[in-house]
Structure formats: structure tokens, C-alpha cells
């Protein structure tokens, strides 16, 4: 077995046996079930008085509910979880690398036989597999939830084409993968978990939004030029390419500034760049703790 293959195998073992990883995945799935479907379905079914008045013109709770049914579950999953779910992928990425520094196991790993880059390659491959498992589990939970919602509402069940499901999973894998690699790289840069999670969350919640808000005050031309090169914006373009979960349920969303091909290419460049940064630091930096 090659050094990278051995590292991949044992990294998977470490991730599989680590309670914090399971907790992160399970919380994501519980949120998808409870908030993404359970709470939304309840509110749409039992809307508060006068709530209908606050809906956009032409929208209704019945139309919004269409987005919860099986035919729309891929769009629903992508639209709802591309950022929030990405945060969980970020946490898993940080856990995969940051804890090695916290426990001091970096020196233990680096004094075994595989070279540093083989260890990194095995680690990132195992992380990619874990993120794919997260995405597939998320889609499975949402598919099951949408089925139950359709049964509760007495609607006939129709599923999206398998190709659309596969594309949705691939898109989510790329978006979650970006987040996981971002977390992994931040943990490598700062050699710890806390700073990496803090900065990653700040980026998810604040930083890109603040940049676009500032650009917006300068005029839309700046936004049109710069926004298509930011990762969260491109995740949004990729999700938008799948369409809205509940068509005609409100005012149409603004057209994305770039298409899916641009979004995929940009996200891949970010992933590759972050991996390259991690590789350079891993290979060259002294291990002093």
C-alpha cells in the first residue's frame, strides 16, 4: 500500500471514530429535518394571522409549500444549506487539521514513514470522502422529509430526474468541499482550531457581505466586476443555476452575475489555491510544538 493510500485509510479511520465529527454531521441533519422541513411545513400549514399579508404579491403559503415537495427537494436542499451546511463542513475541515496541532500529533505523524505531502494528500482525500458522505446524508434526509411532507399534505409524489439529483449532490459537494478546505487551510495557517473556526465563521457571516455592501455604495458597476470572483458569491450562482424551489412564490430573484460554469471553475480555483497554501506550509514549516 502506498504512503498516501495508507494515510487515506487511517485518516478515514480517525474521522470515523471521532465523536466530534459525528456530532457535527448529526446536528446538520437534525437541523435539516427540524428547521428545513418540520418548522417550515408547520408555519406554512398553520400560518400566523395576517402572515399572508406580508408575503410578496402573487405569493401564497400553498405556493411556498410546493418547494417542500419531492420534485423540488434538490433545489430546496441547495438553496437552504449551501452556506449554513457549509459552516458545518468548515468545522469538520478545521477539526481534521487543527486538532493535530492542539494534541501535538503533528510531530507524531511526521516522524512516521510517509512524507509530509503524502500525509497531506491522504488527509485531504479522507476529508473529501467525509464531506461527500455529509452531502449524500443531507440529500437523503431532505428527500425523506419531502416525501413525508407530501404524504401529510395528500400530494402525489414525483421525484426529480436522477441526473438532477446527481448534479445537485455534485454542486453541494463542491460548495461544502470549498468550506472544508477553507477550514483545513486556516487551521494549517494558524496551527490551531479556535482561530480557524472564528475566521471561517466571520467570513461566512460577515466579510463577503460587508465587502459587497461597501461596493454597492460605489455603484453597481463595481459589484458586477468584482463580485463574480468571490467564493460565496459563486456558490450562490451555482445554487441559482438550479432555480428556485418554489417557482412563482414571490418576487423573482435578481439574475446571477455569472453562470454555473464560471461558478464551478472559480470555486475549483479557490480549492486548488487553498490546498497549495496548505501544501507549502506543511512541507516547509518547522514543527516546534
Amino acid at each position: 500500500m502506498s504512503a498516501t493510500a495508507a494515510t487515506f485509510r487511517w485518516e478515514l479511520f480517525k474521522l470515523y471514530r471521532r465523536p466530534a465529527v459525528w456530532v457535527s454531521v448529526i446536528i446538520l441533519l437534525v437541523l435539516a429535518l427540524a428547521l428545513g422541513y418540520g418548522l417550515v411545513w408547520y408555519i406554512y400549514t398553520h400560518p400566523p394571522a395576517r402572515a399572508a399579508a406580508s408575503l410578496p404579491r402573487g405569493a401564497s403559503f400553498a405556493l411556498l409549500k410546493v418547494g417542500l415537495y419531492p420534485a423540488a427537494f434538490v433545489k430546496h436542499t441547495l438553496g437552504q444549506w449551501s452556506t449554513l451546511g457549509g459552516v458545518f463542513a468548515l468545522i469538520v475541515g478545521v477539526l481534521s487539521q487543527g486538532s493535530e496541532y492542539g494534541w501535538g500529533t503533528v510531530k507524531t505523524l511526521f516522524t512516521q514513514r510517509p512524507g509530509r505531502l503524502s500525509l497531506l494528500a491522504g488527509k485531504l482525500t479522507a476529508l473529501a470522502v467525509l464531506v461527500l458522505v455529509m452531502v449524500v446524508a443531507l440529500f437523503a434526509v431532505d428527500a425523506a422529509s419531502s416525501y413525508v411532507v407530501a404524504l401529510l399534505d395528500g400530494k402525489s409524489v414525483s421525484w426529480p430526474a436522477w441526473q438532477d439529483v446527481a448534479k445537485g449532490i455534485a454542486a453541494a459537494w463542491l460548495i461544502f468541499g470549498f468550506w472544508a478546505v477553507l477550514g483545513f487551510s486556516l487551521a494549517t495557517i494558524f496551527r490551531q482550531s479556535a482561530m480557524a473556526i472564528g475566521l471561517g465563521l466571520a467570513y461566512a457571516v460577515l466579510i463577503e457581505g460587508i465587502i459587497f455592501a461597501i461596493l454597492g455604495t460605489l455603484g453597481s458597476d463595481y459589484t458586477k466586476v468584482i463580485e463574480p470572483w468571490f467564493p460565496l458569491a459563486n456558490a450562490g450562482y451555482l445554487v441559482a443555476a438550479f432555480g428556485q424551489a418554489a417557482e412563482g412564490s414571490g418576487a423573482p430573484a435578481a439574475a446571477p452575475l455569472a453562470d454555473a460554469t464560471h461558478a464551478v471553475a472559480t470555486l475549483l480555483v479557490y480549492v486548488a489555491t487553498l490546498i497549495a497554501v496548505s501544501a507549502v506550509l506543511t512541507r516547509r514549516r518547522d514543527v516546534t510544538s
Binding site: 495508507a6 479511520f13 501535538g104 511526521f110 516522524t111 512516521q112 516546534t288
Partner: protein, 305 residues
């Protein structure tokens, strides 16, 4: 102790490490460790021992100088396959059992997984092998570290302060274990700031002070030649006789007695001269300088005691 051969398992030349904050951790250090010996790398805290060992393992890049470890560059996969190491505190995955931690390391290092049982047995950790690492005492963590280092059946064991944090019984157990490990052809390189520990375990010693190797040799070489201890009255008269016989440079007063650098065959003649001069000799015997005295003479410190 092991069978020492002329083969150098560690050869460092001019190893130097300057950190970006201006600290010079190691300066122009030469080191030779022969196959089969238990080599003690002795120095006070902060002398540069751990930095040196990290450079030998490829964890830290030297600013200048070079090293060959078991015939390979430090940190090369081929070299690491033949080296087992504990650097400072042994570090493992706290949520996994001792045995599972060893399974991971065996998988990564290419060691035979069937060796895990015998390694755990060797460090007397079998009964706790299935417990999580986070529940281990300091002594058990150190022993798991040794078991991990043994997995690869290494030619060279590098142990950095292996008794750190252990209680007296744990220290004694670890010392016995290391002496056992040093038997046969295996080579052990131990760093320590504890003089008695090095004295009990090691065949050869390198003394490091402020990043520089100030002395290297066997225990006897480090201690220096055996001296003669003379206790006699009156002291002034005794000193005059001794200085006349061997030279003033070879006589030092210590604890109400004199230490005389002289060939032991001349003991009887020296005794005759003292008695003939009317000096009453109450004690006259060979005296070895302790490693502590040698260490203090070399470093000017009373390190680790």
C-alpha cells in the same frame, strides 16, 4: 549494554538553528552516535537538546550544517522507517484507545500490525491497551510512546526527556526499560537534564550548553582521570608536601581534604613523603569525579539536581 560498533548511526556536522526572533537555539554542533550505544545528550533546560533532536528527525530545518541519521537525510521516509522517537511529551489521539493509536502508527509506518501486542507487552501496557489514551496517566503515556517507537523495530531510538513528569517509581521503571532496550544492537539516543539518570543508563555522553556541544565522550572521559583523595593534618604542611611532589596545579582543596591529580601507582610514595614530613594521614584513596562535578565544571551550572 549493547554491542558498540564503529558504525555511526547519527553524524551531525555544524548543526545550527537560528530562529527568526534572533534566538540561537543550536550553534555549530557536531554529534556522533555509534551503533549499539546508549548515548546521553545532557544539558540544562533550554540548552538546545530538543531542537537538536527535532533537527535529527526532520521536524526542524537547520539554518546551516548537516546530519545523516541511519544513513539518510533527517526526515526522509527511508530514514524515518528505521527510527523510533518520542519528542517531548508523547502525543496521541485522546479519543482512541492505546491499541488503536498504535494501529494507526503501524499502518502509517508500514510496521507489521501483529507487533502491537508484543510492543504493548514490552512496556507492560497490555491490560490498559483498550482504554482511551485520554484516561492514561503520565507514566502510561510515556510507555505508550515507547511502544509506538518500538513498532518499527527501529535501529535507532530517540527519546527526548523520557522520564519527564514521571513519579519516582515511574522514573525507575522507565530507566530499567531503557537499559533493557539498549541491549543488543539497538542504539538509543536519550536527552536529559538529569545527571543521575544519564549516569545510570548511558555509555557515552554529549554535554550541550547554550546550543554548543561542550564535551563528548564516555563516562570516564567526561569525569576525567581518577584522582587521589588525601585527608591529613596539619593541612598547611600537607599541602606543601603534595605541591612539592606533584606540582601546585595538580592539588585542589575540597571539603577539608585535597584532590591530587597523580598516577595511582604513586600513592604509596606520596604517603611516605607525607609521613616523613610529620603529617598525619587519616584518609588516602582513589576518588572519581562524579558526573555532576564534571557537568558543573563544563557548564558552570548545577543542572537538574
Amino acid at each position: 549494554m549493547g554491542r558498540v560498533t564503529g558504525e555511526k548511526l547519527v553524524e551531525a556536522r555544524g548543526l545550527t538553528k537560528h530562529y527568526s526572533n534572533g534566538v540561537v537555539a543550536v550553534q555549530d554542533l557536531d554529534l556522533n552516535v555509534m551503533r549499539g550505544e546508549v548515548y546521553g545528550f545532557l544539558g540544562p533546560n533550554g540548552a538546545g537538546k530538543t531542537t537538536t533532536l527535532r533537527m535529527l528527525l526532520g521536524l526542524i530545518r537547520p539554518t546551516s550544517g548537516s546530519a545523516i541519521v541511519v544513513g539518510h537525510q533527517p526526515g526522509s521516509p527511508a530514514g524515518l522507517a528505521r527510527v523510533g522517537a518520542i519528542v517531548e511529551t508523547p502525543a496521541f489521539y485522546p479519543y482512541l484507545s492505546g491499541r488503536d493509536n498504535l494501529r494507526i502508527l503501524a499502518g502509517l509506518s508500514g510496521a507489521d500490525e501483529s507487533r502491537i501486542g508484543s510492543c504493548l507487552e514490552e512496556v507492560d501496557l497490555t491490560p490498559r491497551a483498550h482504554h482511551k489514551f485520554e484516561t492514561y496517566s503520565m507514566g502510561m503515556k510515556q510507555r505508550l510512546g515507547v511502544a509506538a517507537a518500538l513498532l518499527k523495530e527501529p535501529d535507532l531510538l530517540i527519546l527526548d526527556e523520557p522520564t519527564n513528569g514521571l513519579d519516582p517509581q515511574g522514573m525507575a521503571d522507565m530507566r530499567s526499560l531503557i537499559v533493557e532496550l539498549g541491549k543488543g544492537d539497538r542504539t538509543v539516543l536519550i536527552s536529559s537534564h538529569l545527571l543521575n539518570e544519564v549516569e545510570l543508563m548511558c555509555t557515552r555522553v554529549g554535554v550541550i550548553q547554550q546550543g554548543r556541544l561542550v564535551s563528548e565522550g564516555t563516562m570516564d572521559e567526561i569525569r576525567g582521570a581518577t584522582q587521589l583523595l588525601v585527608r591529613a593534618e596539619p593541612a598547611d604542611q600537607a599541602r606543601r608536601v603534595l605541591e612539592a611532589a606533584v606540582g601546585a596545579d595538580h592539588v585542589t582543596a575540597s571539603d577539608g581534604a585535597f584532590r591530587v591529580k597523580v598516577a595511582l601507582e604513586e600513592t604509596a610514595d606520596l604517603n611516605r613523603q607525607l609521613v616523613a614530613a610529620g603529617v598525619a594521614v587519616s584518609e588516602l584513596r582513589p576518588s572519581e569525579r562524579s558526573l555532576e562535578e564534571a557537568f558543573m565544571a563544563l557548564t558552570g551550572e548545577k543542572g537538574g539536581l
